[in-house]
Symmetry: C2
Subunit: 325 residues, 2 copies
DNA sequence: TGTTGTTTTGCATAGCTATGCAATCTTTCA
DNA sequence: TGAAAGATTGCATAGCTATGCAAAACAACA
């Protein structure tokens, strides 16, 4: 229709191609009237690059991950990469999920999950697909990680409790398979130890990163007859559950009777009913680091990249630790 | 390596293909040892179907959309469809986003946004790409919608307020461009009218679907000197903001002084500090309807499908309207 | 064994674009 | 005007798999 060759059409849509302005104009005009849009699929076959990144996540109901996904998706798009989303709840389906991603020839994988089986890791290495992990500790030849400074935050939390003269601290932990949660707990113990708090004083409560599990954990604590005065929760949702349970089950008010710290600084932490002190994972930084890793890994396509970034979390002090709003 | 033709390899990975068990075994064994995985990209070129669905969303920080996305992604994967995620904040970028999706030859689009410009709609129609809208009212030849019964819920909310003898009702609305919010408001007005409440009694507050906007709206109300006794918020996050503002700015307690209803039934509505009565959009149903629409639209590829499903929302009564927990 | 029917296999092609290379056109300058 | 340099264009090909068709292998039966 534009009276030009197919090559010219291709070049008209490629900004860097050698083509005269007039020809490009003709092509674009014809394309517009025909509703033609270039098809990227053949280019994937030729170049071997799809410009699609597999994003594998779970637990979107945690606002922290929702926000992180939002920012990541935006950043990827700004860098000309598409997001192929994979929602995975259990490690079992992760394997098949990655298989599907691979069959679409994704360029890389970003995940907030602890990568499942070793089979997967080996498969990805064999295929030379770069992986970036968010807050998960898996290491390997093609795997890079971006973590917030979980251990450091644990230390800070412990110091804050010590500074407030806490005698009955509580560590409200997430699932054991959650590496980030484990690291926070280790930092917290370490910090308590450094402050001279006897290990026996620490109550450890197991949760599963949900509000309900935080609530229930405190209810269990009451049955044990423990009256806590300082709590560090591995995540804000559990912290909120704990705040409500303290008030409703134990009649304890925050921060008068007990001070609480959470992690993630989700929007709800700033809601007035909770007013929760929390560690803000600087997601912008973490996403930026992730993009750096992706760019580098995709540029040097055949050399495995394996780097670790640790981004400090920032303590946001609010009412739950006695800070005035 | 397996000593067979390329056709045989292709057939080995296709469950329905005509191939002997022995040959398939040989191929799969060789594939496993070579790390070979079938490449779906050429199949896209041949069949014209990519089995990828563009999912275009905004406002993931609203847990309702996060949950919906989660369920949608799961449902799509169970039906053998991939999710190409597109996060979009403003209608401006929507156009370019859709362009990108189209260039990857997605089979269909699911969106929770009011589709932007007419250009986009026309372009999608021309290309024959089916679109399913979540809670957005756009109509057109290739566009289907799955809505919750917003108007009906508005009626129900009004009836509940009337039943409680409310005299100073408030409608806390979302952005005007949000069709779902508008429909809820219309139902609410209608219901108040039906109950004999004078229109002048209704205060309308404009929010933007965030907690802060709900909080601020109530603060503005105080300045106006209005003392509300019943509030219907277009979304739970605004409702939570309102609850906190009522207590902090006006000294009003819920449900003693004022009763409140929200919409979406986000997890936080069940958190004890809010205990918010809300309308639950039956996301499972809505997602199931969406899948039905997609299946049908993809089966009859060249005939435009344009259907509307309305799914009733369920009133979940909690403490904010005086229900015992 | 010969015949027929069934299953399996390989051949060859299509699908659409990007790009190296050669050919053509345009510009510049002597 | 002619030549050389530069810009633009078209040709032809590659990329990997699914599938129709024909050939081949196999099974069943008389």
């Amino acid at each position: 229709m534009a009276g030009v060759s197919q090559s010219a059409v291709s070049r008209a849509f490629s900004p860097t191609a050698s083509i005269s302005a007039r020809t490009r104009q003709k092509v674009l005009a014809a394309a517009a009237s025909l509703g033609y849009r270039p098809n990227r699929i053949p280019a994937i076959m030729l170049s071997g690059r799809s410009y699609m990144v597999g994003v594998v996540i779970g637990g979107l109901q945690n606002p922290f991950y929702a926000t992180a996904l939002e920012q990541l998706a935006t950043a990827l798009r700004e860098n000309g990469l598409q997001v192929m989303l994979m929602h995975v709840e259990d490690a079992v389906t992760l394997d098949s999920a990655l298989d599907q991603l691979v069959s679409y020839r994704i360029d890389a994988v970003v995940t907030s999950l602890a990568i499942g089986s070793d089979t997967v890791v080996r498969a990805l290495s064999q295929l030379g697909i770069p992986v970036v992990c968010f807050n998960s500790s898996r290491v390997g030849p093609w795997i890079s990680t971006v973590n917030s400074n979980n251990h450091g935050a644990g230390l800070t939390a412990a110091r804050l409790l010590a500074h407030n003269g806490i005698r009955y601290p509580v560590w409200l932990t997430g699932p054991v398979r959650n590496a980030a949660s484990r690291a926070r707990g280790e930092g917290f113990r370490q910090g308590l130890h450094d402050a001279g708090s006897p290990p026996a004083a620490l109550s450890v409560l197991q949760g599963d990163d949900t509000y309900d599990s935080g609530y229930d954990a405190i209810a269990r604590l009451k049955k044990r007859g423990v009256r806590p005065d300082g709590i560090f929760a591995s995540n804000d949702m559990m912290a909120c559950g704990a705040i409500d349970a303290l008030r409703e089950c134990m009649g304890l008010h925050c921060p008068r009777d007990v001070i609480i710290l959470g992690y993630d600084n989700i929007p709800q932490a700033a809601w007035r009913s909770y007013d929760l002190t929390s560690f803000s994972q600087h997601t912008e930084h973490m996403v930026a680091r992730t993009m750096e890793l992706l760019d580098e890994a995709l540029a040097t396509q055949d050399t495995p990249l394996s780097r670790t970034y640790v981004v400090d979390a920032q303590l946001i002090e609010r009412g739950s630790t006695g800070c005035a709003p």
